[in-house]
């Protein structure tokens, strides 16, 4: 199981690949702020499916769930409790 630091590192790598080298706080908005795009959201979805077994077709998908490192971590914790 990966932790918050891994999620942070992964999101930071997505930002870097998008040409965004700015600092990233865990509470920073990623999608609503426009720092990451829809295709990055797809990458995050696949990351969560592969590493945390989250099935968005079951729980429903809302971009709010993955809009920050904090939100993603909270989602993984909820998923861990449910599984």
């Amino acid at each position: 199981m990966k932790g918050k630091a891994d999620i942070h590192e992964y999101v930071q790598s997505l930002l870097t690949n998008s040409g965004d080298d700015g600092p990233l706080a865990d509470s920073d908005s990623l999608l609503l702020s426009g720092r990451l795009q829809s295709m990055d959201a797809v990458e995050i979805v696949m990351f969560l499916e592969e590493n945390f077994g989250i099935d968005f077709a079951q729980i429903g998908f809302d971009k709010d769930q993955i809009d920050s490192v904090d939100a993603i971590y909270a989602l993984t914790q909820t998923a861990a409790r449910t599984n």
């Binding site: 690949n17 829809s38 295709m39 979805v45 809302d62 709010d64």
Partner: protein
């Protein structure tokens, strides 16, 4: 030097200046902002009464933000009543469609486990298709014919707004429905693509305190100024290239080729390149106009067009050029497909979702938007008139799929490999694709293909 140039901004970042933000929170500051915005709005709106009434509504939302949602919900309905009062049928149908949208939303909330509650958007889009089929089957010049096609017209203009409301049903909080109503017909204007998406998005980006409101309003004013500058540039562009240099528009160049008197090769290419820039400019202007007003109303929406000409991949351009349309395709078609199907096959999954969104979704969007072709030609002939668009969408979907599947990694460095080459490739793809971007649907696909071949010295 390069860093200084990169930092240069034509319009200063007023929203980052603390004194400016503080001033924008005071009564004189707010009045100054509103007056400046009204002046800018006059550039886009033809009459002074419209400017004054919209500015008055903005003033209420600025000084009494607690009434913002109420005004945004009620004012568009009042405008619809004023605009269609002379046509009771359209007025009745419009109010009926709004009520129908609210009913659908309520049903989806009330019975989330029902077949409709689980797939409300599918029901909506299928229902609209059936409505078009029914209208096509009606006898011309009969009263059912008139009513059905009027209903198709009204429904088409509300389709994606109602769709977003249905899609947002699971978002929190969904108890206050005023923003749902506001997003059915935004006060700031819109195309058939909702600017900026639905009520759930508006809730997330709404200014929560005077400082946030001041910042977002300053950004709104800046965007309006940017829109005006782009619009002036567009006017100059059209005059300089088409009136002064007499380069034909892309539609004119195609028509000349069809008539057997084609323009010179370099003029055909020039018209194609100009067409690409003109379309890009148009979407930037219209987006700036809508989103600037949205920001003045207190919603920190992202821009519709953001540096599209700096895109280094086909997918990046698609994202930057017409953001809210891309979001529509992603929200309604891409995500539902991607999240449900082909989960074990990463590449197939991505390609399938892209084709559903761009080849099918984009086609469906245009079929719904340009329903008049069905009314004019009947269902099958009307459908056949979209052949060029279908081809355009398949090529676009292929380009986007390849662009997305290419391994993402650190960007190449250097001016040539990092910028010039990838940007040129993207612009070339969209310039060539523009050959099939004619929305008049005057010629069959074969004519467009022949024209494309002639650009590469192949004469069919």
């Amino acid at each position: 030097m390069a860093a200084t140039l990169a930092q240069f901004r034509l319009i200063p970042r007023l929203e980052t200046w603390p004194r400016c933000v503080s001033f924008a929170q005071t009564a004189p500051g707010r009045l100054t902002l509103l007056a400046a915005f009204a002046l800018g709005l006059r550039f886009f709106l033809p009459d002074m009464p419209s400017v004054l009434s919209l500015t008055f509504l903005l003033a209420i939302m600025t000084f009494l933000p607690e009434y913002r949602r109420f005004i945004l919900a009620i004012a568009p309905i009042a405008l619809v009543v004023i605009q269609t009062i002379h046509d009771p049928l359209v007025l009745g149908l419009t109010l009926g469609v709004i009520a129908f949208g609210i009913l659908l939303y309520w049903c989806a909330l009330r019975w989330p486990q029902s077949l409709f509650g689980q797939r409300p958007v599918t029901f909506l889009l299928t229902g609209f298709t059936l409505l078009i089929l029914l209208a096509c089957a009606a006898t011309p010049r009969s009263w059912p014919y008139s009513i059905l096609w009027s209903l198709v017209g009204v429904m088409a203009s509300y389709l994606w707004f109602i769709g977003y409301a249905l899609m947002d049903r699971t978002s929190q909080p969904a108890r206050d429905l005023t923003l749902e109503l506001a997003s059915f017909r935004p006060l700031w204007g819109s195309t058939t693509t909702p600017f900026p998406k639905g009520a759930a998005y508006l809730r997330r980006i709404e200014a929560q305190n005077p400082e946030q409101l001041a910042i977002v309003q300053l950004k709104g004013l800046k965007l309006l100024v940017w829109g005006i500058l782009l619009s002036l540039f567009q006017t100059f562009w059209m005059y300089f290239f088409h009136a002064h240099l007499r380069i034909p528009t892309s539609a004119q160049a195609l028509a000349l080729s069809v008539r057997g008197t084609p323009a010179a090769w370099h003029l055909r290419w020039a018209s194609q390149i100009l067409f690409f820039f003109e379309v890009t400019l148009s979407f930037a202007v219209i987006g700036a106009r809508f989103i600037s007003f949205c920001r003045m109303a207190g919603f920190n929406a992202l821009r519709n067009s953001y540096r599209p000409l700096s895109s280094r991949t086909i997918a990046e351009f698609f994202n930057r050029f017409y953001y809210y349309f891309k979001e529509l395709l992603v929200d309604f078609f891409f995500y539902p497909t991607f999240l449900r199907y082909w989960k074990g096959h990463k590449r197939l999954r991505m390609t399938c979702a892209t084709f559903v969104a761009v080849a099918f979704g984009n086609s469906f969007y245009h079929l719904a938007r340009d329903w008049q072709f069905f009314q004019k030609d009947g269902f099958w002939k009307g459908l056949a008139s979209y052949q060029v668009l279908f081809f355009y969408n398949v090529i676009m979907a292929t380009g986007l799929s390849i662009s997305q599947l290419r391994k993402r990694g650190p960007r190449p460095k250097g001016l040539v490999r990092g910028h010039l080459l990838p940007v040129s490739g993207v612009l070339f793809f969209y310039c060539v694709l523009g050959v099939f971007g004619d929305e008049e649907r005057l010629y069959p696909l074969a004519v467009h293909l022949k024209y494309l071949a002639s650009l590469f010295f192949i004469h069919l």
